[in-house]
Structures are given as structure tokens and as C-alpha cells.
Amino acid sequence: MRAVTRNIRFALTLLLAVALSGCMEWDYLYTEEFDERGQGLFCLNEGNFQYGNATLSYYNPEAQKVENEVFARANGMKLGDVAQSMVIRNGVGWIVVNNSHVVFAIDINTFKERGRITGLTSPRYIHFLSDEKAYITQIWDNRIFIVNPKRYQITGYIDVPNMTMESGSTEQMVQLGDFVYVNCWSYQNRILKIDTRTDKVVDELEVGIQPTSLALDCNGKLWTVTDGGYDGSPYGHEAPSLYRIDPESFTVEKQFKFNFGDWPSEVQLNGAKDKIYWLNDDVWEMSVTADYLPAEPFLPYKDTIYYGLTIDPQSGDVYIADAIDYVQQGMIYRYSKERELLDSFYVGIIPGAFCWK
């Protein structure tokens, strides 16, 4: 019995030692200094919804060098949950982080935070009208927020007609003169026309089901592509289309129909804005004056689902994002205009949006 007791004492001591030696750390992030000048590409990695692991990558095309997680490394804090989009204005990058309800302003060379806009519902895109006025579109809100970026303050709202909070969805914005055009995506089929002088929706144009993107070409024409909805949707399911819209008359000038079941997305323009690109399994390229969809893709599908697309405005190189399985670092492929693979590099989880510096 004594031996048993002795063994138990030993076991207890060992157990206590193990327990007390235990420690775990929720690490603080360290900070680094960056000074990345010259042309560069920001890549926004959405991260996994509700896991707060969105990141920002920066790629130097000339040096073919990528730096990942630059926001966290420069600022000692995380970017947030679902990085949605980014624009640059006057040396400041504005990053919309959807489910963190925030828009960060960063220095585009040091990546250090300059300020942030909060109080948003579910922000998607930001568009600047001036240094002191910008619009921020939302999903699950029937208002477009008007903000003062200089003071990082919300200054007003644009009410969108025929839209409830639940069905609210405003997305990308382009500006032509005094008017800003906005595509409405989730369970929507409209392009809105907003008078920036009055901050009112003054007109709207019905297109197909769920227009996902909006771009303005060299001829002043708007381009949007619909995804056509999905099977079983009470909103409808149809073959998607690419639309060329004349903003003056605010009418559809040309409709390019895809096959039923296709999933086109990510309408992008080259630097000269005379070529349009999109994803539909493969990568497609078309002149903005074309009358028919191309028969052959620019780059064929390669055993993966492409998730993001951008064109280098200077060189015309095509960058394609592969999210792989959506829970690991995605891969960016860089192709020349001549379809030659120039580089590939890993970024963060679900690379979905780009921004050129």
C-alpha cells in the first residue's frame, strides 16, 4: 500500500508539473517597416468568412517579388474579416473590409494605417468624388453611405428605391461627369444612375439577373456582366449576359449572351480601356467594339476555378487568382499579353480583388 501511495504521489507531482508548465499565447503581432516605391500590385485576400483572416499582399512586378500579410506586418493588427475591395487616391490606399464593418486608409508605400471609416453596415466598394466626399456601397442595406474621407466620417446616405434592407445590394461604381453608375447584384437586376450634385438616384436600367461587375471603357461605354442567378432561385435563373451600355441614353447598346449554366464574372479592362476581360471557367478577352463573343478563350481553363482577375495597366500582363481549395494560400499566375506564363506566386486565402499602384 505504501508503494502505491508513493507512486501516486510521484504521479501527482508529475501531473502538477505538467499542468503548471502549460502556457499558451494569443500572440501580439510584431511590426515591420516597409518602403515599397514604384509600380506595384495590391492583392486582397478575402480570407474565410467569420474567421478574420483576410490579408493584404503586395507584388512588385519588376522585381517579381511578393510580400504577404503586409497590413498585419506594418500595423501589428489584423486586416479583418472578408477583404472586399481597394482603391488608391492621392497616395492613400482605401481597403474595404466587409465583415469588419470598416474601411482602412493606408500609406501605399509603408502600408501603415492613416485612419479608418467605421459605422458601416456591410461595405463593398468605395468611390471618390473628391478629397472630402466618397460613396460606399453596401450589401444588406438599401442605402449607399456618403462619407468624408478626410475626417473619416459618415456624412449622409443615398436611399435606393425598390430595395429593402434584407434585399439591399449595391456594388461597383464608375463615374462619368456628374453621374455615378452602380450595379445592384444580390437578388437585383439594375444599374443605378446617381446625380452626385444631389446625391439622389435619378434613373435606373434593368439588365439581366444579378449584374456582378461594372466598368467604363475608352469610348465612355459601361460594361456589366450578369451571373444569371442560380437554379431554384425565386428571383429567377437565366443564361447570363455581358452588356454594353450607353450611359448618355442609359440604354443597353449590345447584349452578348452566354450559355445557360455559364458563370461569367470579374469584368476588367486593360490600361487603354479598349479591351475587356472576364472569367468564365477560362479567361476571355474581347475588343470593346466587338459585335460577337470570341470563339476561343484568351487563356484556357487549367484544372482550377479562377477567382480573381486583373490587367496591368502599363504592360497589359494578365494576373489570374486561383483560390485552390479556399482554405490555403491562393496562387496568382501572371501571363503576358502573348499568353506566356511570366511568374506565379502564393498570396493569402481566397485572393479575390486587386488594386494597381
Binding site: 502549460g22 499565447e25 494569443w26 469588419s100 444588406w140 442595406d141 437586376n189 479562377y306
Partner: protein
């Protein structure tokens, strides 16, 4: 407003409890103290180690972990998620305190663990998983884990295993009452009431648990910084804020009614009815820069589960039948303050689940060497999911959702043979039908044998095929449901040794070591699509293997001192061995995200007279958050240690037994995350006062 609701609900519950006491106190005449109400007895006799021949025929070759009453009834604030965390080697993935808690059994996903309550499967048919934070441990009298192949004895679909939860008669003699009040950190209130009454034939029990808390614990947020601006809106300083857990309040009410009748002539009837009313906010992420006053993010649930059972027992055969019903109403509301105090819905989701359940089973012994069993169960689900209100193109309103029904039939036959006392063999064949689709025959083979009578060393081995059908959301959820999904399938192999030694009244030492190896094909995972929503696909083949160790020690150090130690350790590599999804895919050959490779738990209990000190410790190794196991800044969660202690004293009076208990959770005040962006509470405290009156027994 929240305060008013809380108080009114509290008052309603107190009135309800008073009514129950009055109602149940009626048969007080000549009542005696229930003999099962010795919950205060924390010391118990150390039993004789059973001899090898007494191993139940039904458990030939099975690997199971049984949770004893002391673990289940440790304190009223615990859910089954807490009990599993500290008493088993299962990995419990908790999204926070009183928040969704799912399990990864042997490195599998939550939907690979089948959960039964009194024989009825309670996995959510839409999601496939079970939220163990919604099961109060005080409502469970018997709990056991059936590891891997062993689950095939009870049900199909348990690619990781099965958790069997059940209630049992209180064995009361007369009227009994137990009331416990817990008050803890973060304004946490836990209340438990149990009323029992019984005689030789009838047993009734009513249990109620009510838990509430604003749950607004403080933590230093390492994931974000607050800015300090000058007048020109330049940042002049930044700091990591100390925040409260925002939007994490909960109010959970559970009521369990049981009635049992035993004819004394071999027939037993039972009725179990369990009602849950839960109202939980969904806590904001650490990286959320919104204000909790701007949003209301809340999940509510009303669930009723009822089972009636009949067992007819004879000397060498038994038949039984069960019928049950589950009704679940779930609401998810995500609201936004429009700036005028009006909270407008961003998301308004509702779902209703009706499940009808029936089961018949039989057992037939031929001598002492053969046992044949048969079992047939049916779960008929009718699900209505209403996830989003939209305005259609024609201007009319519509709802995005689905309404589907699915019968789930599962039947098994088994033959168990013990040719000699030292050897047992069991063969099980099972077949399942979900909707109109049948599985192939699911075979399972179990063997055990006594290697040495000295030390009761028993070797066990088993092998089984298994299948899991897609859930209703996998198939039909809008948008994204994929009706073309294949069922997951797998092979599992188990082998292990167990031993037991001891001397009655002095000590007992039991232990086991198990090796397992399983292959799961066509693993279903939800992935984002370019259309902006998620959709499930059969994408992975997973090889999960490893070792599970268990040990249990009980020692009477002296007539007044007693020590209990229970330990578990698991090594569970869970490796993606499918084809690369693209040339850039680096996940093949890597550990699945959020599945720890190692986990362990230890519980130590030291009793002296009517004092009991309890130490609980658990450890999960580093978990990767990416399938490629990248060690980026957010690619891993550091290993996780947790220590909880409690001290209890029982006071015995003529009129009642009183129990006083204090607990300290997160003893070393660790700042930690269980899941990315989900902060866990630091050190926190709760005290419990319990009373068991001695009716008519002074």
C-alpha cells in the same frame, strides 16, 4: 430593454418552478428520501474489478468511453461540450462561452459524429452536426462514446464515432427534491431544480435548468488597435484595446420530464420529454470594428424532443419499441440600427424541423455462447428553411429557402459468439436508406480475447465499412445546395489492449490503448463559388489514424481520503490524401485544418470526508487554420492548455443536505483563442449552493 426582458423571463421561470414544486409536493404523505439523491456523496466505494468472463456479450470488441456520474454531474453550469473537453480525448471546437461547440472525433468533422438521446438520433438533419453546448450535462444520466467501428453497433454514419446519451429512472423511493443555484462571473446565473417521486413501479422526474449571462467578459484584443487622432485626423498613437465580449449574452432554459413504469414482471415503459428554449447573441469577432449597439445578431431556438419506450424482457430474449418526435424552430436575426433606434432586419432566417422516429429491436440468447440482435429504426424528417426575404423582378415578395422531407431508415442484424470465456466474436451487418438511396451492406467484425487473467488483459480488434449521406442543407440549401453529392464512405480498423487491476475497497486501475486507422472518401466540404455563395462538393479523401490512451485510477488513501485520476491522450493525424485540386494545391499530405494532432485531458479528484477538490486539465496541440498547414501569421492557433479547479463541501443536517461549491475556470488566466477571432474568457469564478431536503426523514 434587455434588462426588462431578462427580469420578466426570470420571474416567469421562478413562478413556473414554484408551481412545479407545489404540484410535485402533493404526494408527500409517507414519503421518504429518494435513495438516488445521494448526489452529495462525493466519495464512493471502490468496486471489485470484474472478472474477464463477465464482459457483456453486447460489448464484444467495442471501444467505448463511458462517462461516469461524477463527470456528468460535476456542476450545473456545464454542458456536454465541457464534459467532453475535460473527460475525453475528443477535440471540442468551441466558438466561445455558451456558443456553438462541435466535436471532431478521431480527426473527423462534426457531422461524422452521430449523437443519440435515448436511442433517437438528434443530429440536426439540416446541418448534420450537434451543438453540444446546448446539452446540459445535468440532463444526462448515462453517456458513452463509441469510437469508430463501434458506432456501427448503434447507428450508421458515424465515420468518427457515436455519442450515446440517455436518461434513466431515478430509483426514487417517495418524493425528492434537489435545487442548486450558481452565481458566477460576468453576472452568470445558473439554476437547477429536480423533483423526483417513485415507488416500486413508478418513477417520475422533472428537471429544469436555466442559465443566463450577459457574458461580457473582458479581454485584451490582440487583433486590432484603436487610433488616437490629432485635430487634423492624423494618427498620433495606437493601442491594443481592452474590450468586452460584445454581443455574447445568452439565456437558456431546459426542462426534462421523465415517467417510467416497471410492471415488475418484465415490462418497462418510459416517457422522456425535453424542451429547450434558447436565446443567444452571436458574439462579435475580434476584428469587428462595428459597434455592438448598432447591430443585433441573435439566434433563438425552441426544441422539443420526446421519446416513449417499451421493453419486454424475458430470461433469454428481449424486445423493445420506441417512438419519438422532435420539433425544432430556429431563428436567426441580424439587425441594424438605422440611426433612429429602429432595428431593421438585414437577415431574417427561420427554419422548422419535424422529425418522427420509430424503432424496434430484439435480442435473443442461445445459451451463454450466442446472442443475436436485430434493430430497425426510422427517422422521418420534414424540414422547412426560410432564409431570406427578397423582392422578385415582378415586384412581389418571395422567400429564399426550401421545404423537403426525407425518411432515414437504418437496420442491423448481429450475431455475437463466445465459444469460450476468453474469446468473443461479433458480426454486425447494417443497411441504411436515406430518401430513395440505399447504402451497400455495411459490415462490421469485432473480436476480443483475454490474453491474461492476471491483470484482466483483453485484446480487441474490429473492422467496419461505413457511409454518411449528405445533409439536407448539403443537398437543397438555397443558394448552393448540391443534389448531385455522393455519400461519404469509409473503412475503419481498430485494435487495442485494455487491462484492469485492483482490490476492492483499496484501489482500482484501468487502462486501454487503441490504435485506429480509417479512410474516408468523398468527404463533403462547402466551398465559395465565383457566384458569391458557398456550395458543397465531394472533394477530399482523408486518412485518419492514430492512438488513443485512457487510464483511470481510484485509490482509497485512507478511510477518509480518496483519490481519483482519469486521463486521456490521443494522437490523431488526419491527413488529406486526395488528388490536388489544382497544380498549386499544397494541402495533399497535410493535417486537416482545426484538427489537433495531439490532445489530452486529465481529471484529478481528491476527497476527504465531505470535502472534494477537483482539478481538470486539458491540452490541444497546435491547430492549423489552413489546409496547406502554412505557418503564416493567422495560419495556426497555438497549443491550448486549460486548468479548472473546484472545491466542494457537503453539510449534513437533519432536515437537509447542503452543498457549497466554488469553481475557478481558466485558473492561470490565459489569454487564448479556440477559433480564430473568437476570444475566450480569462479567469472566472462561480459559486454553487445546493439543497436536498430530507422529506419525512428527519
Amino acid at each position: 430593454m434587455k434588462f426588462i426582458i431578462h427580469n420578466s423571463l426570470f420571474t416567469t421561470i421562478r413562478i413556473w418552478i414554484s408551481v412545479l414544486i407545489i404540484f410535485n409536493a402533493a404526494p408527500l404523505i409517507a414519503q421518504t428520501q429518494s435513495d438516488n439523491q445521494e448526489w452529495h456523496r462525493r466519495t464512493h466505494d471502490i468496486p471489485e474489478i470484474s472478472v474477464y468472463g463477465a464482459r457483456p456479450m453486447k460489448e464484444i470488441g467495442t471501444q467505448q468511453t463511458k462517462l461516469d456520474t461524477t463527470a456528468l454531474k460535476e456542476n450545473i453550469a456545464l454542458s456536454m461540450a465541457d464534459v467532453l473537453t475535460f473527460n475525453t480525448s475528443i477535440f471540442v471546437k468551441s466558438y466561445g462561452r455558451a456558443t456553438l461547440s462541435t466535436v471532431a472525433f478521431r480527426g473527423t468533422s462534426p457531422s461524422h459524429t452521430q449523437v443519440q438521446w435515448n436511442g433517437m438520433r438528434i443530429n440536426n438533419p439540416m446541418l448534420g452536426m450537434t451543438d453540444f453546448s446546448m446539452i446540459p450535462s445535468y440532463f444526462i444520466d448515462d453517456a458513452s462514446l463509441l469510437h469508430g467501428t463501434s458506432s456501427v453497433n448503434e447507428t450508421g454514419g458515424g465515420l468518427g464515432g457515436a455519442v450515446k446519451l440517455s436518461t434513466k429512472p431515478a430509483e426514487a423511493k417517495g418524493f425528492g427534491l434537489q435545487y442548486i443555484q450558481g452565481i458566477g462571473s460576468f453576472k452568470t446565473f445558473d439554476e437547477f431544480l429536480r423533483l423526483t417521486w417513485g415507488n416500486d413501479h413508478w418513477q417520475t422526474s422533472t428537471r429544469a435548468v436555466f442559465s443566463s449571462s450577459p457574458n461580457d467578459y473582458k479581454y485584451r484584443n490582440h487583433d486590432k488597435k484603436e487610433n488616437i487622432y490629432d485635430e487634423q485626423m492624423n494618427i498620433i498613437d495606437q493601442y491594443y484595446p481592452i474590450e468586452r465580449n460584445r454581443s455574447g449574452a445568452y439565456k437558456d432554459l431546459h426542462i426534462l420530464q421523465e415517467v417510467y413504469y416497471n410492471t415488475g414482471k418484465g415490462d418497462r415503459l418510459g416517457l422522456n420529454a425535453w424542451y429547450t428554449n434558447s436565446n443567444r447573441e452571436l458574439a462579435m469577432l475580434t476584428v469587428d470594428h462595428g459597434s455592438d449597439t448598432d447591430f443585433d445578431n441573435r439566434q433563438r431556438e425552441h426544441t422539443f424532443r420526446g421519446v416513449v419506450s417499451w421493453d419486454h424482457l424475458r430470461q433469454n430474449w428481449k424486445i423493445g419499441a420506441k417512438a419519438g418526435y422532435i420539433y425544432t424552430w430556429m431563428a436567426y436575426d441580424y439587425k441594424r440600427d438605422l440611426g433612429n433606434g429602429i432595428m431593421a432586419h438585414m437577415t431574417r432566417s427561420r427554419s422548422r424541423i419535424n422529425t418522427f422516429y420509430g424503432q424496434v429491436d430484439g435480442e435473443y440468447y442461445i445459451g451463454k455462447k450466442w446472442l443475436f440482435t436485430a434493430n430497425l429504426s426510422l427517422h422521418q424528417h420534414i424540414v422547412e428553411s426560410r432564409d431570406k426575404n427578397i423582392i422578385r423582378q415582378d415586384g412581389n415578395k418571395a422567400i429564399v429557402g426550401y421545404r423537403k422531407g426525407r425518411p432515414e431508415l437504418s437496420g442491423s442484424l448481429s450475431a455475437k459468439w463466445r465459444p469460450i470465456d476468453r474469446l468473443g466474436v461479433s458480426i454486425v451487418v447494417r443497411e441504411e436508406m436515406f430518401g430513395k438511396e440505399w447504402t451497400p451492406i455495411i459490415p462490421a467484425l469485432f473480436i476480443d480475447g483475454v490474453l491474461s487473467e492476471r491483470g484482466n488483459i483483453v485484446a480487441k480488434a474490429s473492422v467496419s465499412r461505413n457511409y454518411r449521406f449528405p445533409t439536407l442543407n448539403d443537398l437543397y440549401f438555397l443558394p448552393g445546395g448540391n443534389p448531385d453529392l455522393r455519400k461519404e464512405s469509409g473503412w475503419t480498423y481498430d485494435a487495442g489492449l485494455s487491462f484492469a487491476v485492483g482490490r476492492k475497497g483499496l484501489y482500482s486501475l484501468k487502462g486501454s490503448a487503441t490504435w485506429f486507422d480509417s479512410y474516408i472518401n468523398d468527404w463533403i466540404i462547402w466551398l465559395p463559388t465565383p457566384k458569391g455563395f458557398f456550395s458543397p462538393e465531394n472533394i477530399k479523401d482523408v486518412h485518419a489514424y492514430g492512438v488513443e490512451l485512457q487510464a483511470d485510477l481510484e485509490v482509497a488513501l485512507s478511510p477518509k481520503w480518496q483519490l481519483g485520476l482519469n486521463g486521456n491522450f490521443s494522437w490523431t493525424p488526419s491527413i488529406n490524401c486526395g488528388e490536388p485540386r489544382s497544380p498549386a494545391d499544397r494541402s495533399v499530405g497535410k493535417q486537416l485544418p482545426y484538427v489537433p494532432e495531439f490532445s489530452s485531458s486529465v481529471t484529478g479528484r481528491l476527497s476527504w470526508r465531505r470535502w472534494t477538490f477537483l482539478y481538470k486539465w486539458c491540452w490541444y496541440s497546435e491547430r492549423f487554420t489552413m489546409s496547406s498547414n502554412d505557418l503564416s501569421l493567422s495560419g495556426r492557433l497555438p497549443e491550448y492548455f486549460m486548468s479548472n479547479i473546484s472545491l466542494e463541501k457537503v453539510l449534513v443536517f437533519n432536515w437537509a443536505d447542503l452543498s457549497l461549491k466554488g469553481t475557478i475556470n481558466n485558473l492561470f488566466n490565459e489569454e487564448y483563442l479556440s477559433v480564430l477571432s473568437r476570444p475566450m474568457p480569462g479567469i472566472n469564478f462561480e459559486v454553487f449552493i445546493g439543497i436536498t431536503p430530507k422529506w419525512g426523514n428527519r
